[in-house]
Subunit: 475 residues, 2 copies
């Protein structure tokens, strides 16, 4: 019987690895002295080790210097694999609240984030198994004492176990709140008795087999962080059809550029000193001059302090993870700039228009993106989003110019012409993106890029203004 | 003229990216106040940012908790990209010696490691450009003082600059030694004047264009860390043809297994407490029982403390880096186990036999592997290498058994039969691998796996012995 279950587990895991269509995430949390370690070891011995990763978190300096959720995103298993998290994203919430490092409101916020995080994972084909281990307070004390008296096992008892024992009642209450707030069909809690007299491993394995081989549950929609505040003027591409101003003269441009770059250099040094991370997103029509604008920007930055990420097709490792993983992995350390030449907005632009994402996928991406950027802001990052727009005639002129200039020819591809054929679809997607992701703190700057010089200055001005606003805020 | 050079640089970089056959690594080091930062910025502004990464190192906790060279390996650019390293692997050697953190011998050792590291990179298609910036001591002092008097630039002068100024003579001498020890056709030094009156960027760009577009220089052979010590008995597969002992009875096996696992559990806890990393390599004939042996081993380990890495085909990100990169990225944190089910030895086994590596590649791999393992040992890691051998008849029996057992059928693939057809080639490669990589501190354990039970016990005994030897050594 037990052997049969074990083979079912292994068979399910191997089949899951073969299909590589889903991954499984197990989170085990609960009271102290419930035998979590033993349980995880037992489980792990029954799994195919080579397809399993167990994570007990102790945040490293690299993790502390990045937005909070980075530490979890980087550990997500690839499709076909199993990740087992000891306490996972619950430990920090639960013990943080019990130890009063988190206020009641911050605890609720965190649970809301967890709920959204798990919904996002589930929607990307991650099957979640969450286990809460309970133990009676008296049994817990008896068990801890018994362990201490056994020379072979006394090392298992840590001071923190006694602290958690004293918090038993608090943890029980927080656990209830936590489970209620994060219960979902796609991320169900299983509450089991732990401690010396219980063997929850069999139940856990049953749940795991279901997660590996059962139908993936329908993902329950989590309400987004809310629509952008009303009253804020959302950019629209049509705004720009104002007609042709005379182009900025070269001499005036050079003077203004040097001035803006000097200002940026000073701001960037202050940002670095203050340890503020900066995330800049450049989107725009093909040939709108994103690369050139980024170049004018980085020319004012210390080369050691920024990285430009050009977002094209994902690698196979990226494809094997939830879609946002490849952006999380590129987030900057505190005090550094990450500049995205195209970005996560590809989900609601090229992937939407070209049918690379399903309607369900790109529609929920608006919420996912708002949450993602919200997490950057919550970490104290400056988030700047710039859209460089040109009109259709100007694009044609630039395509022709590229085709005729030897050192620019490489910039013009088949894809550019294909995209151009769908100009109106793109414009619709762009305007809709503005509506859904324009926010007070992470709003879009729509930049008229028909005049390259003015556009470059506008980019620098916008970034300078963002940095200065942030630097003016108290530390 | 200047514009022409700039286009040549960009064109070379874009072509290099298109071909994705080589990467370029630039290291810039030398005296203080030579304008390194300005130079790197100037260079960076002329490069395609989206294909360039600039690295100034300040080791993180994750880096300190891994073998020394991990911090550089993880930052190597993928093929098609440029990595610019401020001081790179030279800074630590140079300033470490100047500040007396490194003794004269340790400094020479480090230069030897650098020499080998660069040769390994070059052989994998990394074009190296190394720049040493000089400055006259009086000019340096004048320049530092001038900077201090300019309110706009005074921030550029750090205390360490004055320290380096006082060390000018020392650094000049060390620099000479360092350049001589690491000069190579495939990794040439370019010594240039820095400081306020010199503009080395043009020269640097010329060297860079050569590195991107010129022929890749022939790699000069670096002498390996030496053949394994004589007198040490190198394993040979033929040793095992001793004939059939009676198989170990189940009851005796169970007792011995439980005992060995208990011993291992205790050893592993001590290893964890001491923060010693453990790297175990499992190689062996197909169907020799690597997976089963690993499982008996991990059953005694805390699930949070180890990771099993099954080495199969590399991902596309891995293929874009020097071949050893995918093993470096899997090295454990201090106090953890990394268990490799197949390993870097694939280079001299399957890649050799199947012609996936050229003879030049697998032949130099012996040295590369010895150095790699040497770096693990130097970091204080326990390195255990186990080869599980069976004879040809036993393999056939196991293949048939697998084909007939439903839950084992997945383990038998076409590839297994193909490999079997080349049994003798593999045996030759295995014996040669033993000769080249059997070393006192990282020697092979050749395990007769014809009797699975005895093999599993032998694996546990060997690992226990390794851990106990390490634990017996003073902290």
């Amino acid at each position: 019987m037990k052997e049969a279950l074990r083979y079912r587990l292994l068979a399910a895991q191997l089949e899951m690895a073969r299909q590589a269509a889903r991954s499984v995430v197990v989170v085990i949390t609960g009271q102290a002295a419930t035998g979590k370690t033993a349980l995880i070891n037992e489980l792990n011995h029954r799994l195919e080790n080579r397809l399993t990763e167990v994570h007990a978190l102790a945040p490293s300096s690299e993790e502390r210097a990045r937005p909070y959720w980075w530490r979890y995103w980087r550990r997500l298993p690839a499709r076909g694999r199993v990740g087992v998290f000891v306490h996972g994203w619950y430990g920090d919430a639960l013990f943080g609240r019990a130890d009063q490092r988190l206020g009641a409101g911050a605890f609720r916020d965190r649970l809301e984030q967890i709920r959204a995080f798990e919904a996002e994972l589930a929607a990307e084909g991650v099957a979640l198994v969450k286990l809460w281990l309970d133990i009676d307070r008296h049994v817990q004390a008896r068990h801890l004492k018994a362990l201490l008296q056994d020379p072979e096992r006394a090392w298992q008892v840590k001071d923190s176990d006694w602290q958690r024992h004293l918090q038993h009642h608090t943890l029980a209450g927080l656990g209830k709140q936590l489970r209620e707030a994060t219960e979902a069909g796609h991320a169900p809690w299983h509450r089991l008795q732990g401690g010396p007299e219980h063997k929850p491993v069999t139940t856990l394995i049953h749940r795991l087999v279901e997660a590996m081989a059962g139908p993936l549950p329908r993902v329950e929609r989590v309400n987004g962080p809310g629509a952008p505040p009303s009253g804020e003027a959302v950019p629209r591409l049509a705004q720009l059809s104002g007609g042709a101003r005379p182009k900025l003269a070269k001499a005036a441009y050079r003077r203004a550029l040097a001035e803006a770059q000097a200002r940026l250099a000073g701001n960037a040094r202050a940002i670095h000193r203050r340890g503020i991370p900066v995330v800049l997103v450049f989107e725009g029509h093909d040939a709108a001059g994103k690369g050139g604008s980024i170049h004018r920007l980085t020319s004012a930055l210390d080369a050691r302090g920024y990285r430009v990420h050009r977002i094209a097709a994902p690698s196979d490792e990226e494809r094997a993870h939830p879609w946002a993983w490849r952006f999380w992995r590129r987030l900057p350390l505190d005090g550094r700039f990450a500049i995205f030449d195209r970005s996560w907005y590809g989900r609601v632009l090229v992937e939407r228009v070209e049918g690379l994402a399903t309607p369900a996928q790109w529609q929920r991406a608006f919420d996912e993106i708002r949450r993602f950027e919200g997490q950057l802001l919550a970490h104290g990052a400056v988030v700047g989003k710039l859209f460089l727009a040109i009109d259709k005639d100007e694009q044609l002129r630039r395509f022709h110019a590229r085709a005729e200039t030897p050192h620019k020819r490489h910039k013009l591809t088949e894809e550019d012409w294909r995209n151009r054929a769908r100009w109106d679809d793109y414009c619709r997607a762009i305007d809709e993106m503005f509506v859904h992701t324009h926010d007070v703190d992470g709003g879009w700057a729509l930049i008229d890029a028909n005049d390259k010089r003015r556009a470059r200055l506008a980019v620098l001005d916008h970034v300078n203004a963002l940095l200065e606003r942030r630097l003016a805020a108290p530390e």
